[in-house]
């Protein structure tokens, strides 16, 4: 993959989105339906990336087992985050469980 091209395209898309209204005025309007749809974009995109990573870390098939460190650490991350709502604590806690599970002789 040509990463410089990838980045140039991402930059063009992002600047076009940000500048469209500031530069070309409010001729662009947002229908309520689009506003409502945008509300669901962050949670769906991130979930769509995370779930396959965690339930099938080797890309081969489902690994829904306690021997899967990604899955165990992800479950801990969801629990810690739901209880504390603390981003850094969630990440650090999940990484500790992940490394512990992977290198602690459990797999």
């Amino acid at each position: 993959m040509n990463y410089a091209l990838m980045i140039a395209g991402m930059a063009a898309v992002t600047i076009a989105i940000r500048a469209a209204i500031f530069v070309f005025g409010d001729r662009i309007t947002f229908p309520p339906l689009a506003r409502q749809a945008l509300d669901f974009v962050p949670v769906t995109v991130l979930s769509a990336i995370v779930v396959p990573m965690v339930v099938a870390p080797h890309g081969a098939g489902l690994e829904i087992t306690w021997r899967n460190p990604q899955l165990m650490a992800a479950i801990v991350a969801v629990a810690v985050c739901a209880l504390t709502r603390h981003q850094l604590l969630t990440i650090v806690g999940a990484m500790l469980v992940f490394f512990g599970w992977q290198f602690g002789g459990l797999t």
Partner: protein, 242 residues
């Protein structure tokens, strides 16, 4: 704001954004470290922070690169993920419409979630600030410098310890995404949308060009919107009954 100058407004904007800058530090470091652990060159990682300057879409792009997605899917995802900035711009437009074009380009290119939050508060307190654009530039420019410095630190840190690549650092990305998503799952429609998108992304993972990801996102959004409408209708029926 009686004695304000362009410079003091710039400084005030940056100062009022410091809490947001601190909040962005872990994400910037993780982003930099993930670039160093992945297939991209270090300068690609810095270029992306300098040219794209949108944290969530940068991290998502790394996830897509790791999943061997095609260019078009990466660009389309960037578009969908960053579309919310258009809503921010529409909200801020009345305060910048009078500025010269180059000012509007500059402020637009640097507009992020954090600066939108700071500017919303600022214009609420000072609806008629003549130097508001300098304050805006202070906030947005501060975020920009901060994001790029901590990206560099993350890149150099991970490059200095090449061993961490083999430790499964890609899981840090999953952990980061979970830490972003879970606090957002406060309503049933959002929870259902996330579960639908996650499940379908797994089931459709072998579709060509990673299009399964976009299809799963679309299906998740439809699930969320359908539930929102059903609930709104249920609420209306209950009100009628009462």
């Amino acid at each position: 704001m009686s004695e304000s100058t362009p410079l003091s407004s710039l400084a005030a904007g940056a100062r009022d954004t410091v809490p947001m800058m601190v909040g962005a530090v872990p994400l910037a470091i993780i982003y930099g470290a993930l670039v160093a652990a992945g297939p991209m060159a270090l300068w690609h990682g810095q270029l992306m922070s300098a040219a794209v300057f949108a944290g969530s879409s940068q991290l998502i792009a790394l996830g897509l690169v790791a999943g061997h997605a095609g260019l078009l899917v990466i660009w389309l995802t960037t578009f969908i993920v960053n579309l919310r900035h258009m809503l921010y711009a529409a909200n801020l437009l009345p305060h910048v419409a009078h500025l010269p074009t180059r000012w509007r380009w500059l402020l637009a290119a640097l507009l992020t979630d954090e600066t939108f939050a700071v500017m919303t508060g600022f214009y609420y307190r000072h609806p008629q600030a003549p130097l508001g654009h300098w304050y805006f530039l202070g906030s947005a420019g501060g975020m920009y410098v901060n994001w790029n410095i901590w990206t560099l630190i993350g890149l150099l840190f991970a490059a200095a310890f090449p061993g961490i690549q083999s430790l499964g650092l890609d899981f840090a990305m999953a952990a980061t995404f979970i830490a972003i998503v879970v606090p957002l799952l406060v309503t049933l429609p959002r929870l259902a949308a996330a579960l639908a998108a996650g499940t379908l992304a797994y089931l459709w993972r072998d579709l060509p060009y990673n299009l399964g990801l976009l299809a799963a996102v679309l299906a998740g959004v439809v699930v969320g919107m359908t539930l929102t409408r059903l609930r709104a209708r249920g609420g209306a029926v209950q009100e009628d009954a009462a």
